[in-house]
């Protein structure tokens, strides 16, 4: 089930909330938690119930490992076993085919179906085991609390990757199932703003991006503006899509009296690449830093090892997004950018923030090309277009209005890979992109807005969200569902 569907908003959510608060009020918080787990499993199983046993088994097994980890006098062995088990499960479902084709390119595909959210609930549980062994999570939670933490539907499918030490105490709180009007209103407000980001903005830019990238995948030759506009649209789509989803998750958790950490903090306003990673998918970045980069040695070792660790961390970050080379390239590019940034900081004074922001933005946008493109060949086709190697074309009406452009651009009636390829697609896309980039570059994000600004934003977006929810012919799934 997806957050931005009528079934979820008008069916699942109200029933879940009413049941949760009613059970909490008339019976006990424990019953409310049980209800929450049941709702979460229903939510998960809606898409494909075949994978429910995997989720339930994974929760049970990790809980048992955590119990043994606490009781045993060899906790490190249990930790190692637990992590290996989780990674083996993830490896089989997500990477088996990928690895098989690296070893034996001609081998037939294994056709392993990727269970929904496996990357998220695996990482979540690895965190729990490590925190238990480190003592960050002080007490072993009851199984019900643990199950509600892992399966908690607001973060189950696509994060944020929340720390057990942040969430478990909230789920164990005595007031968890007591309805609070302010929390529900806050939650609904944040949820609706996230819904707007997804349905109104992300899906609009997604349509523009698909035209260009699909054309590149089919071997079409994209001219300068076609390639740039598709890439700029994709950069906006992925930001609005994932940050919209995260806002909706934060809002849903808030309705249920749970506070989630921030997952996006205006990443395109970052002034350097390290800053970008402190603002983009913050919870994944923090997980990789605390559970991979620092255990590998972090900044405490020599510059060469540090560089190596950074590259390993970012390559794995790319691979976490999907078992494909394009994600590895994307992770590698970001690793390289962080390494360059670190070296620059050692050797030169910081550059002016505006220059830093522009440079970071360009690098991040260029790195989205292999991330989105269907293949390496499509990435190269896209980059060729962006470099102007396929020429510059502009609508005839623009060239007629601004004759100076005739020296650099060929006038054409329509640009076939730009939006809907209509006469007015160029000004339409230009205006949409301008609006999108103005929002991400100049406005505060939902979490930095004042309450008044949030209400004004809702006034601007609510009707458009409802239009998309009830009347749009097609609603695209969240991009991060595939990860």
């Amino acid at each position: 089930m997806m957050f931005h569907t009528i079934a979820f908003i008008l069916g699942f959510l109200p029933i879940c909330l009413v049941g949760f608060f009613s059970l909490g009020r008339f019976l006990h918080t424990r019953w409310a938690l049980l209800w929450l787990v049941a709702c979460s499993l229903f939510f998960y199983g809606w898409w494909n119930p075949d994978h429910l046993p995997l989720l339930i088994g994974s929760v049970g097994l990790n809980y048992a490992v955590a119990v043994m980890l606490r009781r045993s006098d060899r906790p490190r062995s249990w930790l190692g076993a637990g992590i290996t088990l989780n990674l083996a499960l993830l490896g089989w479902f997500k990477y088996a085919d990928f690895l098989l084709h690296i070893v034996a390119p001609a081998a037939p595909s294994l056709h392993v179906t990727l269970p929904l959210a496996i990357s998220f609930f695996t990482f979540q549980q690895i965190m729990f085991l490590v925190d238990i062994s480190r003592g960050t999570t002080k007490t072993q939670p009851p199984l019900l609390t643990y199950a509600s933490f892992v399966t908690f539907f607001p973060h189950l499918i696509a994060g944020p990757i929340v720390r057990p030490s942040e969430i478990l105490p909230q789920l164990a709180g005595p007031d968890l199932a007591r309805p609070r009007t302010d929390a529900i209103a806050d939650g609904v407000l944040i949820f609706l703003l996230g819904l707007g980001k997804k349905l109104v903005l992300a899906d609009m830019f997604g349509g523009f991006a698909d035209t260009g990238f699909d054309a590149a995948a089919h071997g079409a030759t994209l001219t300068y503006f076609e390639a740039w506009y598709a890439t700029l649209a994709y950069a906006l789509q992925i930001y609005f899509d994932f940050s919209g989803y995260s806002d909706m998750a934060i809002g849903l958790a808030r309705m249920l009296n749970v506070r989630f950490p921030l997952n996006f903090d205006s990443p395109y306003q970052a002034t350097n690449i390290a800053d970008f990673w402190r603002r983009w998918h913050i919870t994944l970045g923090a997980f990789l830093r605390d559970y991979l980069y620092i255990p590998l040695g972090g900044n405490r070792i020599g510059p060469l090892r540090q560089t190596g660790n950074l590259m390993v961390t970012m390559l794995l970050c790319g691979l976490w997004h999907g078992a494909a080379w394009n994600f590895v390239i994307w992770g590698g590019l970001h690793g390289l950018l962080i390494v360059i940034h670190k070296q620059y900081r050692r050797l030169f004074p910081p550059m002016p923030p505006a220059c830093g922001q522009a440079l970071t933005l360009c690098a991040v946008i260029l790195a989205w090309v292999p991330f989105r493109a269907a293949s390496l060949a499509a990435s190269l086709a896209m980059l060729r277009g962006m470099a102007g190697l396929n020429g510059v074309a502009l609508p005839r009406m623009i060239v007629t209005a601004l004759p100076g452009l005739r020296t650099i651009a060929e006038p054409v009636t329509v640009m076939p890979y730009l939006g809907d390829a209509r006469t007015l697609s160029f000004p339409e896309l230009s205006a949409c992109l301008l609006l999108g980039w103005l929002i991400v570059l100049t406005l505060p994000n939902v979490h930095r807005m004042t309450v008044r600004t949030r209400h004004w934003t809702l006034t601007g977006s609510f009707a458009l969200s409802m239009q998309a929810l009830f009347f749009a012919p097609h609603i695209a799934p969240f991009l991060y569902f595939q990860f």
């Binding site: 209103a185 339409e428 209400h455 458009l464 009347f471």
Partner: protein
């Protein structure tokens, strides 16, 4: 919570007001509206028995009333607009102008039979009605009225601003130079074979999608057509179904064809079928499989007109063609 509800209510009010009274798309939807209003206005002036062609853009691009009119001997109006315009809207506009003895020819595009109701409700006519044609909108079901209010998204708002600015600035649509325009009968003219050669690669690449017989039988458009045929039968209007033009290398499947025929025959309406089932080589087209080029349009129109005369021989009286309006 109160502020939240106020914000939501204000948003809905502002949205409704903006799209009903403020935002407009004078270039894209304006062109469609102009076509609809021009053909309706022409229909209002003709009191004698007439032929009205109702379809998508296959109507004006592949049929020529200017050619058909003298052959069938009655005034002809080419009232096809675009495939996205809702059939219920088109029928609602034309019903008051159809009188006993009138002939309606429906060479509808295949997709018009199968387009889902939800998509059909949000077609360009929804926006046109909300902004300019409340009189028709209020006659349609409540569902259609609500859909009309919510037919526009953010892109539509942005396009409204752009189109209004361009229209105010006297924007010269390059499509007119690239593809011709419309004559007084409502036919598209000037889409010559020479201009069509510019679209040769596009035409070669088109892979037409044909709906299945089951889709046609269950289609929302099929239901609307059947309703209209029943209405026509009750009001002495003779409706005749037909086939849209298409590529000869991509024929409509036999079972789909049977399903289309059945829509008309089940309601006692006629069905016109040329020996070539309106299939022509790709070289006869302009830019899509629904648009013949001008030369082929004229040839096809002659064939259609002669077939119409044969089909309606018992009821048609040959008259002197009316002067062009």
């Amino acid at each position: 919570m109160r502020r939240l509800l106020i914000a939501c209510a204000a948003s809905l009010i502002l949205y409704g007001a903006a799209f009903t009274w403020l935002l407009d798309r004078p270039l894209t939807l304006g062109a469609l509206r102009a076509r609809i209003e021009a053909t309706v206005a022409l229909g209002e002036t003709i009191q004698q028995p007439k032929l009205v062609i109702l379809a998508g853009s296959n109507g004006p691009f592949s049929h020529r009333c200017e050619t058909i009119e003298p052959i069938i001997g009655r005034p002809c109006i080419n009232a096809g607009v675009a495939v996205g315009v809702g059939l219920d809207y088109l029928f609602t506009r034309w019903k008051p102008l159809l009188h006993p003895g009138d002939l309606v020819y429906l060479p509808l595009e295949e997709t018009q039979y199968v387009r889902p109701r939800a998509t059909s409700d949000l077609g360009p006519d929804a926006t046109i009605m909300l902004r300019h044609d409340h009189a028709t909108l209020v006659t349609l079901p409540l569902r259609r009225q609500i859909a009309a209010v919510f037919a526009s998204d953010l892109r539509a708002a942005i396009m409204s601003v752009i189109e209004t600015a361009l229209a105010d600035d006297g924007f010269d649509d390059p499509r007119a130079a690239a593809g011709g325009g419309f004559n007084a009968w409502g036919d598209h003219v000037g889409h010559t074979a020479a201009l069509a050669r510019l679209n040769q690669s596009t035409l070669a690449a088109i892979v037409p999608v044909h709906p299945t017989a089951v889709q046609i039988q269950a289609g929302y458009g099929s239901r609307l057509v059947a309703d209209f045929l029943r209405w026509a039968g009750r009001h002495g209007v003779r409706a005749i179904g037909g086939l849209p033009t298409g590529f000869s290398d991509s024929p409509i499947r036999d079972d789909s064809l049977t399903a289309i025929r059945a829509i008309y025959r089940d309601q006692g309406a006629g069905f016109l079928e040329l020996p070539n089932r309106s299939r022509y080589p790709r070289s006869a087209f302009f830019d899509t499989q629904d648009h013949l080029n001008e030369t082929a349009q004229i040839d096809h129109s002659v064939a259609i007109a002669e077939a119409l005369v044969r089909l309606t021989a018992t009821t048609l009286t040959v008259r002197t063609p009316a002067p062009p309006p």
